[in-house]
């Protein structure tokens, strides 16, 4: 077996040095009643070539694949990924390293993450960003927990119904066992969150909004911030499409106290939903409440600049019973990937790409309207929007699928009140030609 280097002579010599006469005897401390007795009957070991064939077969079972034109976002976005990003993030010195507990031999990871924190902070308009969380959903849950920690005795949070339904499910799973109460805020006819209900809520630690929200609608964060702060809550925002902030005013500038979301858009393959990248930042005063790892700058004994994991006292290594969070890893290589992607785009490219997503999305917006469809929400959107068709869209969608175009996501399962409406996403990967084909098929 190519991963197991031991020859039988070596095993013999090592057993002799240990003073045991067989490999089995190494496990004498495991009592019989704890032993595995059933054979596993796993599939026979496959050669590298059989494995390649097997995965090719699984890939062949995907009706939608990388050659499809995909107009679905809803928390996972197909953007172009430069070969440089794949190639650099794949360098084994990054990929096969552990958490940088020995900073002298991990300055690559550490400087890379420090740069990630910095670029992400600039993108989101916050003062500090951590070294990343699991994903957008758990990041939001952690943000609300953080809000509750900051607010000390308060036990209630609110979140908008326009937040990704899966994220809200994660929040519920995280918050309910400890007995926190969650208020869900409904949305207005224009697709933005209705904050009017907040007035009557007391004991409110924090309120969370998503922008662009699940419907693709850009929330009025400026106004929301004032309302939420007046209601005595911390203002938390989340996102699923960070590219939006290449064009739109960022949450920090709108007064958000904690900003989190999913960074998969930035150079990370969708991979059926993971690994992604929980981006997470906040205003400076809250830095010691921040969950997750942080990389900080310092100096070595000779005064040279260097980077280390820092503020670990918040973590479980040091005072395990006092830890403020159980998070003890980050999505390291994903954060580095996003940093490489952000560096490749640059400020100029970021604006240009964000603008392109917006323009293309607006193009489909209009083309569908001209084909007789209705854009459901009046508030502005970035690269996603909800559409209602004059007639049953299902056969049209099926015909488009036969042409390898995946036209939108039906909303009924997630929002019963929106059954028959579709959430469309248009990124730079979608050509005008595809959008024209969709409009033509709607008309047909």
């Amino acid at each position: 077996m190519r991963y197991l280097p031991h020859t039988s002579e070596e095993i013999g010599a090592m057993l002799a040095a240990i003073g045991v006469d067989s490999l089995d005897r190494l496990f004498d401390s495991v009592p019989a009643e704890c032993r595995m007795t059933n054979p596993w009957n796993l599939p026979a070991a496959q050669s590298e070539w059989e494995l390649n064939d097997h995965l090719r077969q699984l890939a062949g079972a995907m009706r939608v694949d990388d050659t499809s034109q995909l107009l679905v976002g809803a928390g996972s976005y197909r953007h172009h990924i430069p070969e440089t990003v794949r190639s650099l993030a794949g360098r084994s010195e990054f990929l096969t390293a552990y958490t940088p507990y020995q900073p002298e031999m991990a300055q690559g990871t550490l400087q890379g993450i420090f740069e990630y924190q910095t670029l992400t902070a600039r993108l989101l308009g916050v003062d500090v960003v951590n070294a990343s969380m699991y994903d957008g959903g758990s990041a939001l849950a952690e943000a609300l927990l953080m809000g509750l920690r900051i607010a000390k005795k308060k036990r209630r949070v609110a979140m908008s119904k326009t937040i990704h339904p899966h994220y809200r499910a994660v929040v519920r799973a995280y918050l309910q066992p400890a007995g926190f109460e969650i208020v869900e805020l409904d949305y207005q006819a224009d697709g933005r969150t209705d904050l009017s209900g907040l007035a009557g809520v007391d004991d409110l630690a924090a309120v969370a909004l998503q922008s662009p929200n699940f419907f693709g609608v850009i929330e009025d964060l400026d106004a929301a911030g004032s309302t939420i702060h007046s209601a005595g809550g911390l203002f938390i925002t989340c996102f699923t499409e960070p590219l939006a902030y290449g064009l739109l005013k960022n949450p920090g500038a709108c007064g958000a106290d904690i900003v989190c979301g999913e960074g998969q858009s930035f150079g990370i393959a969708p991979s059926f939903g993971g690994p992604g990248l929980g981006m997470f930042g906040c205003k400076e005063p809250f830095v010691r409440n921040l969950p997750g790892r942080l990389v900080g700058e310092t100096k070595d004994v000779e005064g040279r600049r260097g980077y280390v994991l820092t503020l670990a006292t918040r973590e479980q290594h040091i005072r395990r019973e006092k830890a403020t969070s159980n998070i003890c890893s980050n999505q390291g290589i994903c954060a580095l990937t996003a940093a490489i992607y952000m560096a490749s785009l640059g400020g100029t490219g970021l604006r240009q790409l964000a603008r392109l997503n917006y323009d293309k999305s607006q193009y489909l917006h209009k083309a569908l309207q001209q084909a007789g469809a209705r854009i459901v929400f009046a508030a502005p959107s970035f690269n996603e929007f909800v559409v209602e068709f004059p007639t049953d869209f299902r056969p049209v969608r099926e015909r488009l699928l036969a042409r390898n175009i995946v036209a939108g996501l039906e909303l009924g399962a997630l929002y019963p009140e929106r059954a028959g409406q579709y959430l469309f996403c248009v990124t730079e990967t979608i050509s005008k030609q595809t959008m024209d084909a969709i409009a033509a098929e709607v008309r047909a």
């Binding site: 991963y3 070596e10 090592m14 040095a17 401390s29 495991v30 009592p31 032993r35 796993l42 026979a44 494995l51 390649n52 995965l55 890939a59 995907m62 939608v64 679905v72 928390g75 996972s76 430069p82 360098r91 084994s92 010195e93 990929l95 096969t96 390293a97 552990y98 958490t99 031999m105 300055q107 690559g108 400087q111 993450i113 910095t118 902070a121 600039r122 960003v129 699991y134 994660v170 739109l248 960022n250 059926f272 993971g274 690994p275 310092t298 100096k299 600049r305 820092t310 395990r320 159980n326 003890c328 890893s329 994903c334 954060a335 560096a343 785009l345 400020g347 604006r351 323009d359 502005p380």
Partner: protein
């Protein structure tokens, strides 16, 4: 060679990637929505390539050399796993599509769940947790949902001092108060002590087996019976599963919930901190509480099922770290049953060999057969005022990643060595010889250790300063 920070490179107007030409007209946008341009540096492609190539050269990975980081299981990360995860139809798979459009990715989920159930001896698996600690949290959510379903919520949980570090925090998230359980002078849990602490307000016990001393908890079954008798559940932290594949059956041990670390036992790369994956395996009785959606097979068709009223809900927006799951699946298929079992045997062989070859020069607090890792301490070096940290840093000068240090907490000045099965005897012998040299240096030239490392890009860093005045992002106007 130094490499400046990203924002000290570049010039406004450069670009490092291709942006498609627009084929649509520019659309109007409300100026009030627009943000200020984001202050990212503009770099060319070669700027980016050189920046990250240089950064990578300051890093040490498993591909660079031996990485005997105890508890982290830094085994070799096979290249073919990377290829499989990059399969275009899989890497581009969208997580929100209808089941019939993504049968391939669903099938892989279903098969991997089955493999992990078989391997652990438990009955049902959720692949959603994105890391070990996330698996622990999921396990605690299951404990909580289970007790709630039985009508009476509980408020405490037993956690031995030899359990993994994140266990108390995971339990706290569910409102449980951790009750510490001390290990005995053999590093073992004492059933009598557990019995004295276990009561009907205690949700159960969270233990790590093999424990963080690298020792097998021999009386686990007895302990489980005590906990079960009081209506509690047993959580087994499976982070150390690499020691006991094919040896233990978690079900027969009395474990109700167990998480695995795919980035440890199942060879997926650690990525400088993640992503990992922490699947949770449970007994049939607890299956209804697993996160949704569940993947079910109906005939030859795979389907996602969310209709599980007792479920703890979701712990991840989608299906967990799917790309990591693909790598673990690839590893299991490559190793097969015999290969996986052999891996544990050799991992334990390597650890015991190191233990035997070093125990005459390094203090071994628990001198008994270990599993896949062995724990020394710096007691023999104290007289020269040489610490575990000094020895660790000196190993860097010899080209090794140091072992885990100062963990587990029950050993003062711990030096925890986990070689893994992918290290060969030659390399282990060389590592042993190096540590013996360092021990000699500690006695004869202790300053060599205190001044270490010398050959790295930076030398020892001021961590106190970093934490006192945190500098977490670069200056914003440059």
């Amino acid at each position: 060679l130094n490499e400046p920070l990203l924002w000290h490179k570049g010039k406004k107007g450069r670009i490092g990637m291709s942006i498609p030409e627009s084929d649509v007209p520019a659309a109007a946008i409300d100026e009030a929505l627009l943000g200020a341009p984001v202050d990212f540096p503009d770099l060319s492609e070669v700027d980016v390539v050189r920046h990250y190539t240089r950064l990578s050269q300051w890093n040490f990975g498993v591909d660079t050399g031996m990485y005997p980081l105890g508890s982290c299981t830094m085994k070799y990360n096979p290249k073919t796993n990377e290829r499989q995860a990059a399969t275009p139809a899989i890497a581009s798979a969208h997580p929100m599509l209808a089941d019939e459009l993504c049968q391939g990715t669903l099938r892989l989920l279903h098969e991997l769940q089955q493999f992990l159930a078989i391997i652990t001896g438990l009955d049902a698996v959720s692949l959603q947790p994105a890391a070990g600690a996330h698996g622990e949290l999921t396990g605690m959510l299951i404990f909580h949902a289970y007790h709630r379903s039985r009508g009476g919520q509980r408020h405490k949980i037993l956690i031995p001092d030899t359990a993994h570090g994140t266990n108390p925090a995971s339990a706290a998230l569910c409102g449980y108060k951790a009750v510490p359980v001390k290990s005995d002078d053999q590093g073992m849990l004492d059933p009598a002590l557990v019995a004295s602490l276990m009561d009907e307000d205690t949700a159960g016990i969270m233990l790590t087996n093999p424990n963080t001393l690298g020792l097998f908890e021999e009386r686990i079954r007895e302990i489980a019976e005590i906990v079960h008798a009081k209506g509690g559940l047993v959580y087994g932290d499976g982070a150390n599963m690499n020691a006991v594949l094919g040896v233990i059956d978690a079900g027969r041990c009395g474990i109700d919930v167990l998480h695995l670390n795919l980035h440890k036992t199942f060879s997926t790369p650690h990525g400088g901190g993640g992503p990992g994956a922490g699947p949770v395996c449970v007994t049939r009785e607890l299956e209804p509480f697993l996160p949704v959606p569940r993947v079910v097979k109906e005939g030859e068709h795979y389907r996602l099922d969310s209709d599980r009223p007792l479920s703890v809900g979701r712990v991840h927006a989608f299906h967990g770290n799917y790309g990591v799951l693909v790598r673990a699946y690839s590893y299991i298929l490559t190793m097969g049953e015999a290969g996986l079992k052999r891996a544990s045997q050799l991992a334990v062989l390597n650890a015991n060999y190191i233990k035997e070859q070093l125990k005459d020069v390094l203090h071994l607090p628990y001198d008994r057969p270990c599993m896949h890792e062995c724990v020394f301490s710096d007691r023999n070096q104290q007289e020269r005022k040489i610490t575990t940290l000094d020895m660790a840093k000196r190993l860097i000068d010899y080209g090794y990643h140091p072992p885990t240090i100062y963990f587990p907490l029950v050993v003062h000045g711990a030096l925890m060595i986990e070689p893994t099965e992918t290290e060969c005897k030659d390399d282990i012998d060389q590592f042993i010889a190096t540590l013996r040299t360092i021990v000699r240096e500690a006695a004869e030239q202790p300053d060599l250790l205190r001044q270490a490392p010398q050959r790295t890009k930076v030398r020892r860093l001021d961590e106190v300063q970093a934490a006192r005045c945190p500098c977490l992002v670069g200056p914003s106007d440059n």
